[in-house]
Amino acid sequence: MTTLALEARQAALHRMLESRMAEEKIQELFLANLIRGTTHLSPGQEACAMGTAAALRPGDTVTCTYRGHHHAIALGVPLRRLMAEMMGKASGSCGGKGGSMHITDASVGLLGANAIVGGQIPIALGAALTAQVKGTGAVAVTFFGEGATNIGAFHEALNMASVWKLPVLFMCENNLYGEYSVWNKTTPVQDIAVRAASYAMPGVIVDGQDAEAVYGAASEAVARARAGDGPTLIELKTYRFRGHSRTDMAPYRPAGELDEWLKRDPIEILKARMIADGQLDEVEFEELSRAAETAVMDAVEWARSEPFPTLEEMTKDIYYESAGA
């Protein structure tokens, strides 16, 4: 089994904790109506993001979904800018224009979270095309849910990526539900990974709760992609500990299912492994947790005190206006 080096493990654990706590805080803010709109959280799915991010290097890019906070944090979007974006503040990562569903930070390779199911998938092909045309060796990663694999854009993108041998990682976070529908009510196959065969690309099934397993599979796919051998579909078996969005209490989940999955909390899995390997003890973990909490609280406080964008922003950035124009 592939493992991460100590520092990478520490970073993964650290960011998983930050993501978990940031999302708890975000949920609070939404439920208290301190933020209006809706949000889609990913507690339970953090390892999918962290394991993948650990396999990437600067220049690589990511597109993802409205359920994208964990990806943003994994890639290094600063918590303050994330929180400010959540609140629609001018110092948010998108200047407040994007919001929870559209976190974007080109400086860390996050090309954008997307609120149209499947919309982000073909966009990754373009980033990969740039890499291929310019010979940069970069790979393009795109995250999506299992529900999204029933939409046309998914199909077209995987096919064209395969034909053009584009350096893309198709990362399917199969969290068992699309909104309130359990996956097998809308999808006739047991494993999403089998769909790779329609595109003559490798389809891999991975434990999405284990950051290192994700890292291993992603690393292999990255190597394949950088070598010019084309895309890979990776199915990450995972679970969202919360409902689909802000107010969803997930009444559709069978009794006990959540409890079973809580036993496979990605944070606990990595923590236990590090403890077993003598890299961490409970006290240190508590410290890490507290540090994450502090960072999140700081980000929230900071963001709350930041100004909203000025009204001129309303019509800015619709078009790029060149200096000369």
């Binding site: 709109g37 629609g88 407040g96």
Partner: protein, 325 residues
């Protein structure tokens, strides 16, 4: 007379039509077991069973194509597209297939098909989940487009749409779901294609719809205090457009203002202004005024979103400008 919400009007209309005609079927994403993401359609599955009320995969093209095929073979399907922002995902099926199917076949089929979708801004849902879709659909002869603004109209027009032997797109405004209103005990299907003078007035005609109707009525109240009597027209049906009602009002008031929740360019207000400039030109005593989103998009940030949508004071200001013109 009972008081119901706009939300309840939807499910009541659906239930009444399903009870009246076994050929009416209803499907969409999470509409059956969960009763819809806006909790608009609860109870239909329980009452009419899984053959007639179905959840679909996330496959908007398949949803609309299926509805079309069902409509031309004897069912009267109602398909939900959830957010109107997803209409473009199924655009080919809607505009190249549904709209043209009867025509291309030389009239061999009727296409009794209803598409429902929730639209509009003001909820912090961001750029991809806050649009109004009427204007996108009006350049496609073959479609009817309905936008009810009150619970009673929602009920009657949705029933009317389901009874239509032509494809109808019914757009529900998210911001109105909680709006309450009276439903007459003998309420039945309403005919499509009729605008409604919601408030009579002699000085200026306001042509508007849905959320903007309610804001326009507020503005009209305020203007009345300044001695300006607005005639407020609810378009209700954008295709076919009830030109007669609008022209009759213009003939009386000689002044016209459109209040649109949409960008200016190719927005439906252009059709109203065009009507005034062509058939209504001799009645026009002042330039037409269009109040809309201009060249802007709906941003996530609350102050930007609040600014982009026409509000009561902006409407009142523009009406005054027209009175002065």
């Amino acid at each position: 007379m009972t008081e119901i919400t706009y939300r309840e009007a939807v499910v009541r209309a659906l239930a009444d039509e399903m009870a009246a005609d076994p050929n009416v079927v209803f499907f969409g994403e999470d509409v059956a077991e969960a009763g819809g993401v806006f909790k608009v359609t609860p109870g239909l599955l329980e009452r009419f069973g899984p053959v007639r009320v179905r959840d679909t995969p996330i496959s908007e093209q398949a949803i609309i194509g299926t509805a079309l095929g069902a409509a031309i073979t004897g069912l009267r399907p109602v398909a939900e597209l959830m957010f109107a922002d997803f209409i473009p995902v199924a655009m080919d099926q809607i505009v190249n297939q549904v709209a043209k199917y009867r025509y291309m076949s030389g009239g061999q089929f009727i296409v009794p098909l209803t598409i429902r979708a929730a639209q509009g801004g003001g909820n912090g849902f961001g750029t991809q989940h806050s649009q109004c879709a009427e204007s996108w659909l009006m350049n496609f002869p073959g479609l009817k487009v309905v936008s009810p603004s009150t619970p009673a109209d929602m009920y009657g027009l949705l029933r009317g749409a389901i009874r239509e032997d032509n494809p109808v797109i019914v757009l529900e405004h998210k911001g109105l779901y909680n709006l309450k209103g009276e439903l007459p005990d003998d309420a039945g299907p309403l005919p499509l294609g009729q605008a409604k003078v919601v408030r009579a007035g002699r000085d200026v005609t306001i042509v508007t719809s849905q959320l903007m109707l309610h804001r326009s009525l507020e503005a009209a109240d305020a203007l009345a205090k300044d001695g300006i009597e607005c005639e407020v027209i609810d378009v209700r049906c954008f295709a076919p457009l009830d030109s007669a009602t609008i022209l009759a009002s213009l003939a009386k008031t000689n002044r016209i203002v459109t209040v649109e929740e949409a960008p200016h360019s190719a927005g439906w207000g252009g059709d109203i202004a065009s009507l005034a400039a062509t058939e209504g030109a001799y009645w026009l005593a002042a330039p037409v005024k269009r109040v809309n989103m201009g060249g802007a998009l709906v941003a996530y940030s609350p102050p930007l979103e609040d600014e982009v949508l026409p509000n009561v004071s902006r409407i009142a200001r523009e009406v005054k400008a027209v009175m002065a013109g």
